[in-house]
């Protein structure tokens, strides 16, 4: 277990590196996912088809393949960026499809009667959307969106496995292969690092869920 103590600053650095991947990908995937979700529920057919095409392609192919595309194919096309950026782009593009599905399921979960009732009492489109439909949709979205976010945090390890460097996975990989430390303590440290990210997030999310829960 000395490895953990001796290389503590390495682990902390890896932890922060992972958080950096996660933070950028979180923003990227939420923005992209929201745009895709808008496309998928819009009344304009081509936008809808693009959205559903994107989602079904991305959902059925592995994140690893997506990362192979962003990391190995994009540079081939003259898009040369640091590996970190390419990894974040891949993770965001992938997660966006799942964010889109979570948001869409939330909007679909609002009963038709709610919008009809809003129209019946004379609310305009934006009023009914803003104060009746969306507030309910957003609450329903919290649990599925939360699982998507947690899965994304775990997937950041795959970005690390691509050799981004400086995240938890690469710290573990370097200590065990290049420096030859015993794998068990090192990887336990890596695992604890990831749990330190996912478990508090899960706890926060379930708090939010409780707060916004509505009785149907």
């Amino acid at each position: 277990m000395d490895v953990l103590v001796d290389n503590f600053d390495l682990f902390v650095g890896g932890f922060l590196g992972s958080l950096r991947i996660i933070a950028y990908s979180l923003v990227g995937s939420l923005v992209l996912g929201a745009i895709l979700a808008m496309m998928r529920v819009s009344p304009v057919a081509p936008l809808r088809q693009f959205g559903s095409g994107y989602v079904s392609v991305v959902r059925n192919s592995p994140l690893t393949v997506m990362l192979f595309f962003t990391a190995f194919v994009l540079p081939e096309l003259g898009f040369n960026r640091p590996f970190f950026q390419l990894g974040v782009i891949g993770l965001s593009l992938y997660t966006a499809a799942f964010v889109c599905e979570a948001i869409r399921s939330g909007i679909n979960a609002v009963p038709d009667g709610q919008a009809e009732a809003a129209r019946a009492i004379g609310l305009t489109f934006s009023q009914s959307l803003g104060s009746v439909v969306m507030p309910q949709a957003l609450r329903t979205v919290v649990p599925p969106l939360g699982s998507v976010v947690i899965a994304m945090m775990k997937n950041s390890a795959i970005v690390g496995a691509f050799g981004v460097g400086g995240d938890l996975y690469s710290v573990g990989s370097r200590l065990t292969s290049a420096q030859g430390f015993a794998a068990l303590p090192v990887l336990t440290g890596v695992l604890l690092g990831y749990l330190a990210i996912t478990l508090p997030t899960a706890a926060i999310l379930s708090r939010i869920e409780e707060k916004v829960a509505i009785v149907r």
């Binding site: 393949v65 081939e76 439909v133 997937n155 794998a183 990887l187």
Partner: protein, 301 residues
Amino acid sequence: MSAPPSVLYDAPGPKALRRHRVIAVVSVLVFVLLAALAAVRLNSTGQFEADRWAPLYWPGDDSFPSVWNQIRIGIQNTLLAAALAIVFSLILGTVLTTLRLLLGRYSRLPLVLVAEVLRGAPVVILIFFAARVLPQFGVNLSQLWYLVIGLTAYNFVVIGEILRAGVAALPRGQREAGLAIGLTPRQAVLLIQMPQSFRLMLPALISQLVVIVKDTSLAAVVLIGPQELLNTGRRIEGFLDNPLQTYMLIAILYIIINSLLGRLAVFTEDRLSRARGQGSGDDDAAVPAGRSGADAPAGTT
């Protein structure tokens, strides 16, 4: 194609229809423009050259037979790893859920703890763990087995959760009726609750198989050697020097395999809901509630 019924907007009138048409035309133009820009970029980097594509689709090409032979082996190994992982996960997941149902609140705590740790860990780390830690304890297996072990370590917990959700969704009376006719609690779990949970959760279990198939590709970044589909693609691409074309083919193969599985999940869902006498004519049949709920957390990995 008309817009699906939505709570977000009314049926459009003539003015709105005109506006929608304008937006449709503009968005199609934008898509075409983007595709054209991409095509120009692809062309200028020589991606349309015939020798980058021919080995993948033209049977007369010299490399064609060996490329497709490798892909065949890759698909076999991917499916083999996925099949082994799902079988082990189902067995262990069933054991886990059964124990969780039978043990008391305190004696099941260690089990819950292990489950939570495995579920909170990235699969890729678990595969890495298996490949690095097991050899240090003298367990030397082929790389494919490390993949299977890593996948199983994560997925048996997920499957356990799915089965537990299935048991929780059963009417209370099922268990009570079992106990009333004199079954022991263990018999009630094994003979009444678990079998029904399997049946109820079959679509979610199939969806989890999609996740497992996708995750077999992690072998390509973590392990050295097992020739599953993605690693095969990597090898072919290294040989033919055409990453775009090869990875495109690999992606298409994954998409075919997984959408077939996805379709199977929807099909079983339909069959089950019809068997329960709910009919599949209602709107919910298109997006089965159980499936979309169950694969949301899992389907993302």
